[in-house]
């Protein structure tokens, strides 16, 4: 495979990251502007990712329709709505009454409905899984119930102690536990970043 395909992306990633990282710690003439330019490139490329995602969806679902893959009818619907949104947005503008009507009639309710399912899912998941099978799950059930209930205004009506208990759980054990997890995850990201910088991890390029 050509060198620019195997090594090129690694060199670009390395240089871009090096400029941004060094500019964070070192003050040098021109370095700040160079770093700003690199970040701008990153922002522009991120913007293109939306466009690439759009092309990918179109390609994938048009392929589903032409090859009559399972549930291809939904792909027809997806492509139709996608084209409608794009056409109306281009013809009338993204702030137009027509575009906002489609947004308010189709997109808004569908998104809200999917998210609203969470309320019911939370209940059935909690009812099924919140059982004290052992010490750890017992602690989970106990603190979960206290926090979940205590945060609601109705708990303060029953007794102010629920709110205080919830507040303590959120401020002390929750922060202690989540801080440990966040530190671990943060270190994992630093480790991953170093592997990408040095070209040791090339899975992001699609290679093994």
């Amino acid at each position: 495979m050509a060198l620019y395909k195997t090594q090129g992306p690694i060199v670009v990633a390395f240089l871009s990251a090096l400029i941004v990282i060094v500019s964070n710690f070192v003050d040098a003439p021109g370095l700040g502007q160079l770093s700003t330019d690199v970040k701008s490139f990153g922002a522009i490329i991120a913007g293109f990712a939306l466009f690439v995602g759009l092309l990918g969806i179109m390609q994938s679902h048009v392929n589903n329709v032409t090859k009559r893959k399972p549930l291809w009818q939904y792909s027809v619907l997806l492509v139709a709505v996608l084209v409608l949104f794009i056409a109306v947005g281009l013809a009338y503008g993204a702030n137009s009454t027509q575009f906002l009507w489609i947004y308010d009639t189709i997109y808004g309710p569908l998104t809200a409905t999917t998210y609203s399912l969470l309320a019911f899912w939370v209940c059935s998941a909690a009812y099924r899984a919140f059982k004290p099978r052992n010490l750890e799950s017992g602690i989970l059930v106990f603190t979960g119930l206290l926090t979940f209930f205590g945060i609601q205004p109705i708990a303060s009506v029953i007794s102010p102690i629920f709110y205080n208990i919830q507040s303590f759980i959120m401020s002390v054990p929750n922060i202690a536990g989540s801080r440990g997890i966040v530190i671990g995850i943060g270190l994992g990201v630093i480790g991953f970043g170093l592997r990408v910088l040095l070209g040791w991890d090339r899975s992001w390029m699609g290679a093994d």
């Binding site: 941004v20 964070n24 700040g32 770093s35 700003t36 970040k39 701008s40 990153g42 922002a43 522009i44 490329i45 991120a46 913007g47 990712a49 939306l50 993204a94 702030n95 575009f99 906002l100 947004y103 308010d104 997109y107 309710p109 998104t111 809200a112 999917t114 998210y115 609203s116 309320a119 019911f120 939370v122 209940c123 059935s124 909690a126 009812y127 099924r128 919140f130 059982k131 004290p132 059930v141 119930l145 979940f148 209930f149 945060i151 609601q152 205004p153 109705i154 708990a155 303060s156 009506v157 102010p160 709110y163 507040s167 959120m170 401020s171 929750n174 922060i175 989540s178 801080r179 966040v182």
Partner: protein, 291 residues
């Protein structure tokens, strides 16, 4: 012949459809008969509001919106009351969003804000506020914005050149802002603002977010990196209570409260049954397994 389940067993293995039906009833009751529940004010929401209300006139505030139609019911009240208050205090507001589906929500909330400004108060686009609309959802975008605002975007959301807008005359980098109000929705991207703005430049940061992100954000409120937060519908209701502005959040907390009470009762019942079954009878050994 299959053993008939006792009532206790049926309750313990309750069909999810029955749970959903009970939940639906508890969600609907407050709409029929409002409960008039008091709204306790949490320290983080109090801190959030205190920060907003102490912004001096002329302050420049960046307001980011990352809620979408699904999470905006949780954050709408906090967001629009915050904007309203900032305008009442003669602050200048710089709007942007990291979600491609948020701009219509912004326009909707601006209509509410304009309708609720106090008598005689007017706001002029380009002088009191600027909206650059959607920018790519990436940390690099925030890094770029903080480094050079006009370098990232040359035009606002309506096609005007940013440099032509009077408000933008003295705004060039993230350091020219006095506060960042970050509406995170449920996205979990508040770290962009924390790392690229707050930690790099020291610009104070307050967050509006869905309740699901509260435990994570509390870390940063406790450490002082985030000055305050308004979370979910409860946060919105608290903002409405302490600000005195009317909104939908207070009404919306009641279904949540009652359904939480319902779920708590259901969990207590099922766990009581589970514990009594688990510890109440002697284990039997059947087929090599302890039951």
């Amino acid at each position: 012949m299959a053993e008939k389940k006792s009532l206790i067993d049926k309750i313990q293995d309750l069909d999810p459809k029955i749970i959903y039906a009970i939940l639906l009833v508890s969600l609907l009751i407050p709409y029929v008969r409002p409960l008039g529940l008091p709204i306790p004010i949490s320290p983080e929401t109090r801190a959030y509001w205190d920060y907003i209300t102490h912004m001096p006139p002329g302050s420049v505030v960046a307001v980011q919106l990352a809620s979408d139609p699904s999470t905006i019911p949780q954050t709408r009240s906090s967001h629009q009351i915050t904007i309203l208050r900032l305008f009442e205090q003669d602050c200048k507001v710089f709007f942007f969003t990291l979600r491609d589906d948020a701009p219509p929500l912004h326009e909707e909330m601006m209509k509410w804000v304009e309708a609720h400004l106090s008598a005689g108060k007017t706001i002029t686009y380009g002088v009191n506020y600027v909206n650059i609309g959607y920018v790519a959802d990436a940390e690099a975008t925030i890094a770029s914005l903080v480094a050079d605002v006009k370098g990232l975007v040359e035009q606002d959301a309506y096609g005007n050149s940013l440099s032509s807008l009077p408000m933008m005359a003295d705004i060039n980098t993230g350091a020219d802002f006095d506060l960042v109000v970050w509406n995170d929705g449920s996205r979990g991207i508040y770290m962009y603002a924390l790392r690229q703005w707050r930690e790099k430049l020291g610009t104070p940061l307050v967050i509006i977010a869905a309740t699901i992100n509260k435990p994570g954000i509390m870390n940063y409120i406790q450490s002082g990196q985030v000055a305050g937060g308004a979370f979910g519908v409860d946060g919105g209701a608290q903002i409405e209570t302490i600000s005195g502005y009317l909104g939908d959040a207070k009404k919306a907390t009641e279904p949540g409260s009652l359904s939480a009470l319902t779920l708590t009762i259901l969990l207590l019942v099922s766990n009581t049954i589970y514990i009594s079954k688990r510890f109440g009878k002697q284990p039997e050994i059947k087929g090599g397994e302890v039951k």
